[in-house]
């Protein structure tokens, strides 16, 4: 049975990772606008998710200025899928096993 992922359980991280499934990669400001969050909040969550290998960031250019491009890694995609399955089980009333 899939378990909730501590790294994705915060709603803001779930939104961020789910949003990234809609693209191959997205520019920082585009993601910020889609999520309606501040630069610092997005940076904080990106940093945490990058640390566990769920997202990847690289420097690039957009409209002539330097910016950051963000994408979901295969590991992040797998983690998100398992987390969503666990959330759906929770919604359906199936108890999840606590991680020991």
């Amino acid at each position: 049975m899939a378990e909730l992922d501590d790294h994705v359980v915060a709603p803001a991280r779930l939104r961020l990772m789910t949003t990234l499934t809609a693209v191959s990669e997205a520019e920082f400001a585009t993601v910020r606008e889609a999520l309606d969050v501040s630069d610092s909040v997005l940076s904080k969550h990106l940093g945490a998710l990058e640390e566990v290998g769920y997202v990847r960031r690289h420097k690039g250019v957009h409209r002539g200025r330097r910016t950051t491009w963000i994408s979901l890694t295969p590991r992040g995609r797998k983690a998100l899928s398992a987390h969503v399955t666990a959330l759906q089980a929770l919604i359906d009333g199936i108890d999840w096993a606590p991680r020991l």
Binding site: R15, T18, V23, A26, L90
Partner: protein, 184 residues
Amino acid sequence: MESKPHRPTATEASAALLDAEVARARLADHIVTPSWFFASIGVAIAVQIATTAAGLGGDAPRLIAGGLAVFAAVAGIQLARFRRANGVWLGGFASRVVLGTATAASVTYALALAAAIWAAYGDRWWLMALWSAVGGAAYALSGGRWMQSYRGDPAAHARGESLAWLALMLAAGISGLVVLVLNA
């Protein structure tokens, strides 16, 4: 140190999932194609089909290279405009819409190309032009349909074929053209 995250209740889980899907849909809904995108891709494909057919029928391989160069230039410019306009890169869009790996685009392209080559070998130039136009229009329509499918389910359509697969298809296409030119 990060504290243990709060475990959601069923209601919170439901709200979080819904909220995440709304954010994803918002991003997908804001993705637009630049002006004249499908028309230019359709025209470039029509030119590429026509030059390939005319090059083979008229024994002029430079025409084939010219047509491929026109398509490569239009595709490159339009993909750069797409990325600039949206602030995203969509692998599915690049491969399915621009490189024509969607089933409808690839099947109609192959049929139109074969028909145009057949017409060119018979010196039926008006028919060759007609098949080229049909191929370009079908390619563009297939792209428009892909965009609608993408908006309906962005996660299922966002990713394109792997680079290895695209390289294999490109190599197969070039090999096929070389064989046709050598046998012309």
